[in-house]
């Protein structure tokens, strides 16, 4: 009798848990499945199909899209995209790390204020923030006028429509994404660890190099990925600040889908991009694990 009651109770608990999971998880997970996972499956499937005459696809199996992506023209664009995105990421790290470090030295109240000031532009309109640089860097723009007025130059500089302008635009757009994770890694470091190093005879510089820097590494990696990922697939900055002269893989994908109407080839490019990014996330997870493992062990 008691056994039956216990079992009935256990079943009720199980049913309740199942019901809860259905109510809470089913809507969101189905939504993500229908509108993200299945579409990504489509994209992957498309890479093996033939382009349709008026966009779309024809269901004729081929590997031609992949061999076409190996053409030196496209490899070159891919390499250039990676170089541009990597430059933006490196610059963001060089500028962002000291800034994040500086914030950790402030009082808690000021930390919150400065963090808000740094994220605020990030949450505003991306197109407009990119456009603002055209206003600033144009040959008749503010920067050129200012430089001429103070006599540094006498002819306006052509600052826009160069790879450098694209790197600058990407740096500007995603710098906050570098600073936040580095900051959050830095504030989590127990000050006692640094003090211990100094008590054991390390100079402040040594303590920084051997204690702070390694423990900040997970934040640096997350920040780098957060800057690199949206940079490499970006097509707005190359178009607006690169003047269409700098073609990145994002421009190429956009054009295959909206202009050339070669969806299978666009899909191959998109899958290449996604695979590269997944690889980065995988590396980040491994490094993260090894750093945290050392700390605990």
């Amino acid at each position: 009798m008691a056994q039956v009651l216990v079992r009935a109770e256990r079943d009720a608990v199980k049913r309740r848990a199942l019901l809860a999971r259905t109510i809470f998880l089913l809507p969101g997970l189905s939504y993500i499945t229908i509108f993200m996972l299945i579409p990504l499956g489509f994209i992957f499937f498309y890479t093996f199909l033939t382009r349709g005459t008026y966009g779309g696809v024809e269901y004729i199996f081929t590997l031609e899209n992949y061999t076409r992506a190996l053409d030196s023209l496209y490899i070159q664009i891919l390499i250039e995209s990676i170089l541009i995105a990597a430059s933006a990421t490196l610059l963001a790290l060089l500028i962002g790390f000291p800034a994040a470090y500086a914030i950790t030295k402030l009082s808690s109240n000021w930390q919150n204020i400065f963090l808000l000031l740094i994220v605020l532009p990030f949450w505003t309109n991306f197109l407009i923030r990119t456009y603002a640089w055209i206003v600033l860097l144009n040959t008749q723009g503010f920067l050129n006028k200012g430089l001429i007025n103070i006599g540094v130059i006498d002819q306006p500089l052509e600052l826009l429509y160069k790879p450098g302008a694209v790197i600058l635009g990407l740096l500007y757009a995603y710098l906050p994404l570098m600073i936040l994770p580095i900051y959050s890694a830095l504030v989590r470091i127990d000050p006692a660890m640094r003090e211990a190093a100094i008590n054991l005879g390390a100079s402040p510089a040594q303590a920084f190099r051997q204690v702070t820097l390694p423990l900040a590494l997970p934040g640096v990696l997350v920040g780098s990925i957060f800057v690199f990922v949206p940079s490499v697939g970006n097509f707005i900055v190359p178009e607006l600040l690169g003047g269409g002269k700098t073609v990145m893989v994002g421009n190429l994908i956009r054009d295959q889908f909206l202009k050339a109407r070669d969806w299978p080839f666009g899909s191959v490019l998109a899958i290449c991009m996604v695979v590269m990014l997944l690889l980065l996330f995988f590396i980040q997870a491994r490094v993260n694990k090894s750093v945290l493992g050392e700390k605990n062990g």
Partner: protein, 257 residues
């Protein structure tokens, strides 16, 4: 506050100058009197008036507002439920990763996926397809924020309610929802601005006759600088900034990381 910083002031203030200088110049130029985009010729608010006279911009604004409101409603429901489910009923790193992916995945990859899906379903592109698409990534941001809040909260009250015989739905409305309300509001505000400003996904999933405001802005900035864009840009920037500051009052910046 600054005395402790020493040489670190340079990178900190440098970053702020870098982040705000272009925006400041843009706002300044929006009050320029003449239509010469680069020469200052006196203060005027005429370009703000011109905005109201442009039917293109007004239609874009109306479309964007509709998309942002409906997408936010959808995102808040989906995201909050998902966060509660993941924090209280099914701890799973894999499911959590899937739930947050739409927020960090490249927008271009999401956009072509959605375009492909709608095309395959023969679903006519328009504001409804933009709403569906925006709710996808907005929900992931809501999930992240609400989940962060739930992890800080003790679940013992919820367990007590369940032990005393409250239903799952009852516990949610009586215990869980009131305690995560600030995070839900912050998530909603964030969703709203994200949708308001989103361009790439809207560009791919929108029909030709219903441009959202960022699409209107895109078609304008491609033709170069004009004082009218400066005025519009100023309004859009200030709106987003204001909403984010309000959202921030419900949430510390640190929780967003």
């Amino acid at each position: 506050m600054g005395s402790k910083l020493g040489w670190l002031k340079l990178p900190l203030y440098g970053v702020l100058l870098f982040l705000y200088l272009p925006i400041a110049v843009l706002i300044f130029m929006s009050f320029n009197q003449s239509d010469a985009p680069f020469t200052w010729s006196g203060f005027s608010t005429r370009w703000y008036g011109e905005l109201l006279a442009s039917p293109e911009i007004l239609i874009g604004f109306k479309n964007t507002l509709l998309v942002a409101i409906v997408a936010t409603l959808l995102a808040v429901i989906l995201g909050t439920l998902l966060a509660v489910g993941l924090a209280r009923y099914q701890r799973s790193a894999a499911l959590e990763a899937i739930a947050l992916t739409p927020a960090i995945f490249p927008d271009l990859a999401l956009a072509i996926g959605l375009l492909t899906l709608f095309t395959n379903l023969n679903y006519a592109l328009g504001l409804d397809s933009v709403i569906i698409s925006h709710a996808l990534f907005c929900a992931a941001f809501v999930t992240a924020i609400v989940r962060g809040r739930l992890h800080q909260l003790d679940s013992s009250l919820e367990q007590a309610a369940a032990d005393l015989g409250d239903t799952t739905v009852g516990t949610f409305f009586r215990i869980t929802l009131p305690s995560i309300k600030p995070a839900v509001i912050a998530g909603a505000l964030l969703s709203f601005t994200l949708s308001l400003d989103e361009f790439v996904i809207a560009f791919f999933t929108n029909g030709p006759s219903t441009p959202t405001l960022p699409i209107v802005i895109y078609s304008m900035v491609r033709f170069g600088v004009s004082p009218e864009i400066n005025a519009l840009a100023t309004l859009v920037l200030l709106t987003s900034a204001l909403i984010i500051i309000i959202a921030q009052r419900n949430l510390k910046v640190k929780d967003q990381i």
